[in-house]
Structures are given as structure tokens and as C-alpha cells.
């Protein structure tokens, strides 16, 4: 599935890409499937197990898509964080 990018540089990961937009679509669907699937599975409805299973599969797919990008964002951002925090402290203390 080369359509989904799995190796990110820090600069590339900073941008909003199709991996993010796909996650925006899949994520609410996972919540819906987990919610309805759990309730109907507890009532031992066969379609409840199907929905719950679908939710789990979509969750794994979502993580597969977005996790490499989130890792890249986090790693590059940690380097800049200290400098940003100093900026914010200056604003809070009216130093500029």
C-alpha cells in the first residue's frame, strides 16, 4: 500500500496530508462501530460482533496510517519545544 506514506522527514510530517484526512474519516467511524458493536455484542447479536470486529480492524488500520507520521512530528517537535516554552514565558511575564 505505497499510496500511504510510512517514512516521514520532519519537514514532511509538519504538513497536513492525505494520511491526516483519512484518519479524520476513519476515527469517528471507529467510535461508532465500537459503541454500537459493544452494545449489540453484549446482547449476543451476531451483527454486533461483526460491527465490533470491523471497529477493531479499522482502529488498527488507522494506527497503521497515522502512527509513523505522529512519531515523526513528535521527534522533530521535541527539539524546538524548549525554545517555544521560553517564548511563552516571556508573553506571560509581559517581557516583550
Amino acid at each position: 500500500m505505497s499510496w500511504i506514506k510510512r517514512r516521514w522527514t520532519a519537514v514532511e510530517a509538519d504538513r497536513w496530508t492525505k494520511e491526516d484526512y483519512l484518519t479524520f474519516v476513519i476515527s469517528p467511524l471507529v467510535y461508532v462501530l465500537l459503541m454500537i458493536g459493544t452494545a449489540l455484542s453484549l446482547l449476543l447479536r451476531w451483527y454486533g460482533f461483526l460491527l465490533l470486529g470491523g471497529g477493531v480492524v479499522l482502529l488498527l488500520l488507522m494506527l497503521w496510517i497515522i502512527d509513523p507520521k505522529l512519531k515523526a512530528i513528535s521527534e522533530s517537535y521535541e527539539v524546538k519545544q524548549k525554545q517555544y516554552l521560553e517564548e511563552i514565558e516571556k508573553i506571560a511575564r509581559w517581557e516583550k
Partner: protein, 532 residues
């Protein structure tokens, strides 16, 4: 009244000691700095804020609310709880943007995103409003516990309000957010386990899954098993347009900051996570637990309906889940159940005590009164603010009957008219502080008119809530959009700085091009073709 045996009291006292000591143990970490007292030093792995999200949003009044909607609407009632799904998109959109801003609070974020007088007015307003709201939530939830203990033990309502909030304040005062989040972890685990045990017990008492389904069928109530049993397009008690409106509010709201009242506690958890990735996963998984919890509750409430199908009074059937626990669990287990209720209660109280204090300390005292305050002084101001919130919550709690109607109205204002502006401030560079401020003010007037005044004078009919939402959204936009365009855009220096820090989503092209021109951002390949 419920009778407690020795073993029941043992569970309750043991859990209270465990929860309090667990919080106090982190005293030394909490007192190191303001960042530790309110954000645990921004160093938490995702699963700690995640359990805190779950525990905070599992309060004593939550099963009452879920019981009410599921008893009334069957599994359709789950959609009334689905507003928490704003985290589905937020976890990967506004959470990422907010975590990168490094703002302590949402009020502080306003001064990073906007500039000048408008930004300061917004920061002051949101900080003051959040101090008030947290005090209100503390009083509200405290009184829910008061009513429960009155039902269980016959105590006057103020006793449980004061007793449990004071116990909770001990570890919040000592260890701040470290105490909150560490206690939330064990409280969340206890609460989830007991919710599963009690709900499964209720399902079993009602005849098990097959028994519930067959009894509902025999009663002609099988529609209760269908989460999509709409009553029509616009009419009836569960119209399709309500469902679609709810989905829009819940799901699209995730692009904004402040589209849900729950954003504010979540914002604190987002900033306490050690990386952007941890922040995203904490919000997503904490809410996933909430969604699953609601489903477990819902099936137990269907079981309760099978046992007691003809309850008409809302106040009676809203107690469904509590009745399952207290009426059907064996002696010894009832105490465990009550200990879990105390855990649920303390996690909510501790979160709001610390959150309200963070706005009072960071945004009001530190930013406006004493910008040069030392870290030690700020931690102490945090403690004093916590104490003031605690005392304030007792006063609110005692006034709750009189003010509840007004404050529910205030919450409705929040949800309806600020929803779109709260998204626009995140996704659109041209939306400025005056536009956002005017949306708050306009909504205050419009909600009075649309919800109360015009229907009262028969100038318009009583409108269903989904229609009120859309009308207020459109009317509000007719005010704040012209104001936005008639006032200047935010200062470009501030916008560029914000863009470089946060990398927001949406329509930011002029700011991005300026950041690229200044050499602060690597130019996008093919930027000339357009894009955001």
C-alpha cells in the same frame, strides 16, 4: 436506605485511604514548579492522561444521565452520549495544534493565536468564565453525590458534598495535577472494573442477553434494540435531522477548540502529555473508553427496563444503574460498588479543582496581577486558588436548585453559538479576536431571544433544539463575520509566530507564504498551485 455490613465499610474506607495516599505521594513532584502543579511537567506517557480523561468524565451524575436516555429511548439513547465523539477528529487535528502551541490553558492560547487588546480581553474572559464554570461543576457534581448519599444513608445532602470534596482537596492541594492524574489512574481502573461487574450483574438478573432480547420482543419493545430506529425525518421523539445535527456538532466540532465544554479539561491533559503523539493517543483512547463504557451501561439499563418497564417518573428511572447495584449486589459487594462511586466522584472533583485553579493562577494572577512571580509563589497561589474553588463549590452546591436552570441555559449558549467560531479561530487565519469576542456577545443575546423571549411572546413557535442550533449559528454568523471583515486582521508577526509553532490546519496560505518568505518554514513543493 441501604444497609452496609462490616465488609462494605472496609471496602469504602480502604479505597478512600488508597486514593488519598496515592495522590499525596506525589507532593514533592507537584511543588517543583507551576508546570508540575498544573501539567505534571508536560512529561506523561499517553495512558496516564487517557485514564484521566476517562475518569474525569465518569462522574456521579453520568450513570444517572445515561440511565435516563437509554430507559427512555432504548439503544437510540446512546447517540445522546455520542457528543463526546468530538475527540475522534480533535485527537488528530486540534489536539496536535494545541499541544504544539504549548499554552498552559485555552485562555493562554488566545494570546498566542490573537494579538493586542482583543486577545487580552479573550484571555481574561475565558479565564474568569472557566474559574466560574469549574466551581459550578464542583457544586453540581458534589450535590449529585449529596443526593445519592441521602438516598443511601439518609445523610443531609450537604454532608456528602463537603465530606468527599474535602477529602479530595487534601491530595489536590498537596500534589496538584500530579496527585490528580495518579489518583485518576487507579480511580479509573477501579471504576471501569466495577462498572463492568455491576452492569453484567444487572444483565444476568434480567435474564441474560437472550432473556432481555426475548422479553423486549414479548413486550412489543424490540425497537429498543435498534440504535437507528428513527421516528421520522423531522417529527417524533428521535428524528433523523436531530441525529444528523448531533453528528455534525460532535464530529466536525473536533476541528475546533472549545466546541465542547469538555475541551477545557481535555486541553490540560493534552498539554500534560510528553509528546504530540502521546497527546493524540491520550485523548482518543480516553474517549474510546467512555464510548465503550456507555454501551456497557446501556445494555444493563435495557435489563433494568425489562425488570421495571412502567416507570413514568424521570427521577425514578434515572436511578436505574444505581438501583441495579444497590438492590441486587450481595452483601460485601455493595461496599465495593460504593467505593467505586466514591472513586468516580473524587476523580471528577480533583480534576475540576486543579483545572479551575490553573486558570486562576496562570491566566489571572500570573498574567495580569504579578507577572514576575516566582515558581514557588505560583505553586502557593495554585493551592490558595484550589481552596477558594473548594469553598466556592460548597456555596454553589447549596444554591444549586435556584441556579441550575440558569446555568443549563449558559451551557446551551456555549454549545450553540460559539461552536462555529471556535472552529474558525483554529482553521482560518483571517478570523480575528474581535470576531470571536463578538460571537460570544452576540450569542448571549440571540440565545435569549431564540430559546426564551420570542417563544414566550408567541412571536415564534417553540423550536426543537436541533433547529435552535442551526438558527443561532446562522444569526450569529451574520454578526461576527461582518465584524471580522470590518476590523483589521491580526498582526502578521504574531500570526507567523503562531503558524511556525502550531502548524494549524485549514486556510492559512497568506501566513504560510509570509513564514516561507522569512525563511522560517521550508517552502512546500508546488505551493504555487495553491493549497492551504
Amino acid at each position: 436506605m441501604v444497609h452496609f455490613a462490616f465488609l462494605d465499610w472496609f471496602w469504602v474506607i480502604a479505597f478512600i485511604i488508597l486514593m488519598t495516599v496515592c495522590g499525596i505521594l506525589f507532593y514533592k513532584l507537584g511543588k517543583r514548579s507551576m508546570a508540575d502543579f498544573f501539567l505534571a511537567g508536560r512529561g506523561l506517557p499517553w495512558w496516564l492522561p487517557a485514564t484521566s480523561v476517562y475518569a474525569t468524565h465518569t462522574a456521579t451524575d453520568t450513570p444517572i444521565w445515561v440511565s435516563g436516555v437509554v430507559y427512555q429511548y432504548g439503544l437510540r439513547g446512546l447517540w445522546y452520549t455520542f457528543f463526546s465523539a468530538w475527540c475522534a477528529i480533535s485527537a488528530f487535528a486540534s489536539t496536535r495544534i494545541f499541544r504544539r502551541s504549548l499554552a498552559y490553558t485555552q485562555a493562554e492560547w488566545q494570546t498566542l493565536r490573537f494579538s493586542g487588546l482583543g486577545a487580552e480581553l479573550l484571555r481574561g474572559w475565558i479565564a474568569g468564565w472557566q474559574v466560574f464554570m469549574n466551581m459550578f461543576v464542583l457544586g453540581w457534581v458534589g450535590m449529585a453525590m449529596g443526593k445519592l448519599c441521602n438516598y443511601l444513608f439518609g445523610w443531609p445532602q450537604w454532608v456528602a458534598l463537603v465530606l468527599f470534596s474535602t477529602i479530595c482537596a487534601v491530595y489536590v492541594l498537596a500534589a496538584g495535577y500530579w496527585g490528580v492524574v495518579m489518583s485518576d489512574f487507579q480511580q479509573g481502573v477501579i471504576a471501569f472494573l466495577v462498572i463492568v461487574i455491576v452492569s453484567f450483574w444487572g444483565i444476568s438478573v434480567a435474564g441474560g442477553p437472550h432473556g432481555i432480547v426475548s422479553k423486549l420482543g414479548a413486550m412489543g419493545q424490540s425497537w429498543r434494540l435498534n440504535p437507528f430506529a428513527f421516528s421520522g425525518l423531522t417529527g417524533g421523539d428521535f428524528p433523523l435531522v436531530w441525529f444528523l445535527t448531533m453528528l455534525v456538532i460532535a464530529v466536525i466540532g473536533g476541528f475546533g477548540m472549545g466546541t465542547s465544554i469538555d475541551w477545557y479539561p481535555e486541553a490540560q491533559r493534552i498539554q500534560s502529555a510528553k509528546t504530540v503523539r502521546d497527546a493524540s493517543y491520550s485523548i482518543w483512547s480516553g474517549t474510546a473508553l467512555i464510548v465503550i463504557r456507555n454501551s456497557i451501561w446501556a445494555v444493563a439499563i435495557l435489563g433494568f427496563f425489562v425488570l421495571y418497564p412502567n416507570i413514568q417518573e424521570t427521577a425514578q428511572y434515572e436511578m436505574a444503574w444505581y438501583r441495579i447495584g444497590f438492590e441486587y449486589l450481595p452483601v460485601g459487594m455493595v461496599g465495593l460498588f460504593f467505593a467505586a462511586i466514591v472513586a468516580i466522584h473524587l476523580s471528577t472533583i480533583s480534576a475540576h479543582l486543579n483545572l479551575g485553579a490553573s486558570y486562576a493562577t496562570r491566566d489571572l494572577y500570573h498574567h495580569y496581577f504579578k507577572p514576575k512571580a516566582t515558581e514557588k509563589e505560583l505553586v502557593w497561589v495554585g493551592r490558595v486558588s484550589t481552596l477558594i474553588l473548594l469553598i466556592g463549590s460548597f456555596i454553589y452546591g447549596s444554591m444549586m436548585k435556584e441556579i441550575t436552570q440558569w446555568l443549563i441555559f449558559a451551557l446551551w449558549i456555549m454549545a450553540a453559538g460559539i461552536w462555529l467560531p471556535s472552529i474558525l479561530q483554529v482553521v482560518w487565519w483571517r478570523f480575528n479576536s474581535w470576531g470571536y469576542l463578538s460571537s460570544w456577545i452576540a450569542n448571549l443575546g440571540l440565545s435569549w431571544l431564540v430559546v426564551w423571549v420570542l417563544p414566550e411572546f408567541r412571536l415564534i413557535p417553540d423550536l426543537p433544539d436541533y433547529l435552535q442550533f442551526w438558527i443561532m449559528m446562522v444569526l450569529g454568523a451574520l454578526i461576527y463575520l461582518p465584524i471580522t471583515f470590518l476590523t483589521k486582521p491580526e498582526d502578521m508577526d504574531r500570526l507567523v509566530k503562531y503558524y511556525v509553532m502550531s502548524r494549524p490546519l485549514g486556510w492559512w496560505k497568506p501566513v504560510r507564504l509570509e513564514a516561507e518568505r522569512r525563511g522560517l518554514v521550508v517552502p512546500e513543493a508546488g505551493a504555487a498551485k495553491g493549497g492551504n
